[in-house]
């Protein structure tokens, strides 16, 4: 039996569960989500999830599960009993850490809020609500089904049911000014969340927004306004004590999303469900896995082949190094250059680092970790490209 690789840099092990259905497709979303008219056969999915979990568990024996994340799509649309069945399968294959974080993404509608108690009973201990905006006009433009009032109500319910909640907002919306965003963000922070994700709107390929932008029917704020919106975001969250521990994620110390930290610290995770990705370390090396995206096709795959993977590739050390940089530098805590060396057998270019330090874009922490500075974060992709080259 393979022995799990453990070293001083072990960032833990997580399980990602993808629920691929939504009530409607949002115009900005490029996630693997699908709208179904009739009911979804949840029993059939539960069965397929358990086959997938058994398949991944065989590849990752002996791990302790630090976190589980139900993402989507809209996992709050599944019935709590489905979540419960999946969680029970997970605990038959691996040991769950005592403080295992179990997050569920949810839409802030009254229908879904009414099921929060059920999810809690199933074992979920954290919800992440897709509020996206606190302004009804923008909510409609973003294709959301809820109103501001309904969303805030759902947030209150979530806060009363779960120990931990988080919510998402999207900024950099068409016509949004820094002043308007400041107001909206202050309104959000007045609910005293422990964690908040603030995403700059990105036009993704093959989305409705992309078509609108290409057709000239929608315009995003220009680079200077985008930068001003970013600056407002940093300033307002910092003042509220919500530290930017990652590019788009802010939390009170200790309230960071542990599951996402596994990704950014380049730990191991298995992904089950349509289109789910995984990174697992086997004796042959780190494998990048991805499952069939189409839900019904995925079901068929799992049922006939025993798993839904359509990609299972061994990463080269250079690819591992790239991914480590790409993910690790997103964190305020930075990354350990020594681990880059262990992964790739190469050292990061000292001269490039010195130049970037000279530009004020990166810095070394007292623990000798390399991290991006506040000035570096808004241009992180260029910093990563520079270090990876």
């Amino acid at each position: 039996m393979a022995t799990p690789i453990r070293n001083a840099f072990d960032p833990g092990f997580g399980v990602y569960v993808h629920w691929p259905f939504c009530l409607s497709k949002c115009p900005y979303c490029d996630f693997n989500s699908h709208v179904r008219r009739g009911d979804v056969d949840e029993d059939r999915f539960v069965e397929a999830f358990s086959v997938e979990l058994a398949h991944r568990a065989a590849l990752t024996p002996g791990r302790e599960v630090r976190s589980i994340f139900f993402g989507g799509g809209t996992p709050s649309l599944m019935s709590p009993s489905t979540a419960e069945a999946i969680l029970s399968q997970i605990s038959t294959h691996w040991t769950l850490a005592k403080d295992c974080e179990i997050t569920l993404e949810a839409n802030p509608t009254s229908v879904e809020a009414s099921r929060f108690k059920g999810f809690k009973a199933a074992g979920v201990n954290r919800v992440s609500l897709g509020l996206q905006a606190l302004n009804d006009i923008d909510l409609r433009a973003l294709g959301r089904q809820h109103s501001v009032a309904e969303a805030l109500m759902a947030l209150d319910v979530a806060n009363s049911v779960f120990e931990r909640t988080s919510f998402d907002l999207i900024y950099g919306r068409s016509g949004q000014t820094p002043a308007a965003w400041r107001k909206e963000l202050e309104l959000a922070l007045a609910r005293a969340p422990e964690h908040i994700s603030l995403y700059q709107l990105t036009i993704e390929p093959d989305t409705m927004f992309e078509r609108m932008v290409n057709a000239g029917k929608m315009a995003l704020p220009d680079a200077n306004v985008q930068r001003a919106l970013w600056d407002v975001t940093q300033e307002v969250t910092a003042r509220a004590g919500l530290l930017a521990y990652e590019v788009s994620n802010h939390a009170r110390p200790g309230a960071e999303c542990r599951h996402n930290l596994v990704y950014w610290r380049y730990g191991e995770y298995v992904g089950v469900g349509p289109g789910a990705h995984g990174r697992i370390v086997t004796p042959r090396g780190r494998r990048a896995q991805a499952a069939e995206r189409h839900p019904e096709m995925w079901l068929t795959c799992v049922e006939t082949e025993g798993h839904g993977l359509i990609e299972d590739e061994l990463l080269s050390s250079e690819q591992e190094g790239d991914e480590f940089l790409l993910m690790g530098l997103r964190l305020r805590e930075g990354l350990d250059p020594q681990r880059y060396f262990l992964l790739t057998g190469k050292r990061l270019s000292q001269s490039r680092i010195s130049e970037l330090i000279g530009d004020g874009l990166v810095e070394f922490t007292r623990e000798n970790k390399l991290r991006v500075s506040s000035e570096g974060f808004p241009v992180l992709d260029a910093v990563v490209a520079d270090l990876a080259a």
Binding site: N32, A223, W230, V247, F377
Partner: protein, 601 residues
């Protein structure tokens, strides 16, 4: 096949503006005379290089022999000589024209006479040609043959009343063209008994035959096995093979006076042959060579570097091969701090430069960076030494320089009156000195002395653009004159980029520097930091622009399911960076070099 009766030979070229149908007419004549079977025809038979077909220009002279039985019942031999049509190849054109007695002047029946036609037809007239005007595209609804005939008479001063009306596309009137060639163009003259006197019209390298030489016999006879002498180079050869183009090579036993054909003679490289040289019999040479021979003289220089330094050896091999076929460019190795190893090459002109560059990229699949074109400067040092400067990067320290001389040209520009103002302004702006201003028909003719370094950049392009393509331009090198020339350096992020440095006249330095900085500002992508771009004379900054740092470049969402896609993006980015040139910390895409050096105003 023996030599033909001289009175039954006609040698002619076709003068036409691009797109007026020269190649199509040539194709039709080849077809009509049955020289090639229909299945062998491709379009533009004579333009054999891809570049020639695409650009509609002819780079190498080509010839085809057509056999034609005329209405008078006699068999004629017609030699069609296809000539290059650009000012860079003016000398080559003059040699090709010298090989003919007449020209067809092809004019589009709706568009009329254009500048290029004018320059070329005057060259043909100067060469003593009989001219037959041919109006093409008369099948088009917009055709106005009567108006165009008048225009030809007015502008060129040629009688166009019996112009041949044709449509090369449909084949209409082609037999009339053949009859006109026979009846209206004079036969060549020459003495069969006199010592051999033949013109070396052009030469090229053939992979199977070695160097093939295109010749026109004036006196005497050329036979297989004959020992010959090239008079300018004093090289001796024995003729291996002798033949004509139909348009494929066909051997003949001999060539007599008035005939056009090719020879091969164990000549190793094209550089051993000189266009315009006189070929004569080794034992019984002619007393006087043909007049007008000039050795090829490169006038424009630039550095050519491989984008990927690892391709240097490939570039060396490719340049060597091209040189086999084109002796008119020169090359020597060069090293640049910015661009690595490459070659400094000399060309006949800017088009020639572009063609060589394009052929290297296309036929040899090389990615190249070309540096700013420059001319040869003559520098007198304070110690009295005189040196020739081919490359601005090699300029000696200013304190050691007594005087810099630059080459000047005499340019003749013909333009419709309405553009004269802009043309004169362009010449003035380029430090031109007016020599003459006159009218030729309805066109103005401006003669200017101009420094060549003001012309090598983009003078021709500018002239074409301000005159809507109507002005024509011809030049010859005249002399070297002292000038207040300074070396302008371009600094990117405070690092000098040697490939972009150039010699300019002090009065033009600031403008040129500003242009260069503005252009580079558009071409250098934003970095994480501001990138200053400066033009400097010595230590003095004369122009400056800044490429702003980007303000925002960060992926908002990157979770477990995104990392594969983001990694692949990063891999692409890394691949792209390899194609950039690193100057200090700044990455400059190779297109930036090419674009920066092609300046517009």
């Amino acid at each position: 096949m023996t030599a033909h009766k001289i009175e039954n030979i006609r040698n002619f070229s076709i003068v036409a503006h691009i797109d007026h149908g020269k190649s199509t007419l040539a194709d039709r004549l080849i077809q009509e005379t049955g020289t090639l079977a229909a299945r062998e025809m491709v379009e533009q038979v004579l333009d054999s290089m891809d570049i020639e077909r695409e650009r509609g220009i002819t780079i190498k002279a080509q010839t085809v022999r057509l056999n034609y039985k005329a209405k008078d019942g006699k068999d004629y031999v017609l030699n069609l000589m296809d000539t290059p049509g650009h000012v860079d190849f003016a000398y080559e054109v003059s040699r090709s024209l010298k090989a003919c007695e007449g020209s067809l002047l092809v004019v589009d029946a709706s568009q009329g006479v254009e500048a290029q036609t004018l320059a070329n037809v005057y060259q043909a007239i100067d060469a003593g040609h009989e001219i037959v005007p041919v109006l093409n595209k008369i099948d088009l609804p917009a055709a106005e043959p009567e108006r165009i005939k008048e225009q030809i008479e007015e502008v060129i001063g040629l009688d166009a009343s019996d112009a041949v009306l044709i449509s090369a596309k449909t084949g209409l009137g082609i037999p009339d063209v053949l009859e006109a060639i026979v009846t209206r163009l004079p036969p060549p003259s020459g003495d069969e008994k006199a010592p051999l006197k033949a013109l070396l019209v052009d030469s090229w390298y053939d992979a199977y035959l070695g160097v093939v030489v295109l010749v026109r016999i004036f006196d005497g006879t050329l036979k297989k096995g004959q020992k010959i002498k090239m008079m300018a180079t004093d090289a001796h050869y024995e003729i291996d093979k002798i033949g004509v183009f139909r348009p494929k090579m066909q051997d003949v036993a001999s060539l007599g006076p008035g005939e056009v054909g090719f020879i091969t003679a164990q000549i190793k490289q094209v550089a051993d042959t000189r266009v315009g040289d006189t070929i004569t019999d080794d034992k019984k040479p002619t007393a006087e060579p043909l007049p007008g021979f000039k050795p090829a003289q490169p006038v424009v220089f630039c550095g050519l570097f491989p984008v990927d330094a690892a391709d240097f050896e490939d570039l060396r091999a490719a340049i060597g091969k091209l040189r086999l076929n084109d002796a008119s460019f020169s090359y020597e190795m060069e090293t640049s701090a910015a661009l690595g190893f490459g070659f400094r090459c000399g060309f006949l002109g800017l088009l020639h430069l572009e063609i060589i560059q394009e052929r290297l990229q296309r036929e040899f699949d090389l990615d190249l960076i070309a540096t700013a074109p420059s001319v040869i400067y003559k520098i007198t040092l304070t110690n009295g030494d005189e040196i020739e400067l081919h490359n601005p990067a090699d300029m000696p320290d200013v304190v050691k320089i007594e005087e810099i001389k630059e080459p000047w040209i005499r340019a003749t520009i013909l333009t419709p009156d309405e553009f004269l103002g802009s043309v004169l302004k362009l010449c003035q702006d380029r430090r031109g000195v007016q020599v003459d201003l006159n009218y030729v028909g309805k066109r103005a003719m401006a003669v200017y002395d101009l420094p060549l370094n003001e012309v090598v950049f983009d003078f021709y392009d500018r002239l074409k653009s301000i005159s809507k393509g109507y002005a024509s331009f011809d030049y010859q090198l005249t002399d070297y004159r002292a000038g207040d020339l300074v070396k302008m350096s371009i600094l990117v992020n405070a690092e000098p980029v040697d490939a972009l440095s150039m010699l300019v006249h002090r009065s033009r330095a600031e403008g040129r520097g500003r242009q260069m900085c503005e252009k580079l500002k558009e071409l250098i992508p934003p970095h994480m930091f501001q990138v200053p771009i400066q033009a400097a004379l010595g230590g003095k900054i004369i122009a400056r622009e800044t490429v702003r740092a980007f303000r925002k470049d960060v992926t908002a969402k990157c979770y477990g399911g995104d990392v594969t896609r983001k990694r692949k993006l990063l891999e692409k980015q890394k691949e792209g960076k390899k194609k950039m040139r690193q100057f200090g910390r700044v990455e400059i895409p190779q297109e930036a070099f090419i674009a920066a050096l092609k300046m517009e105003e």
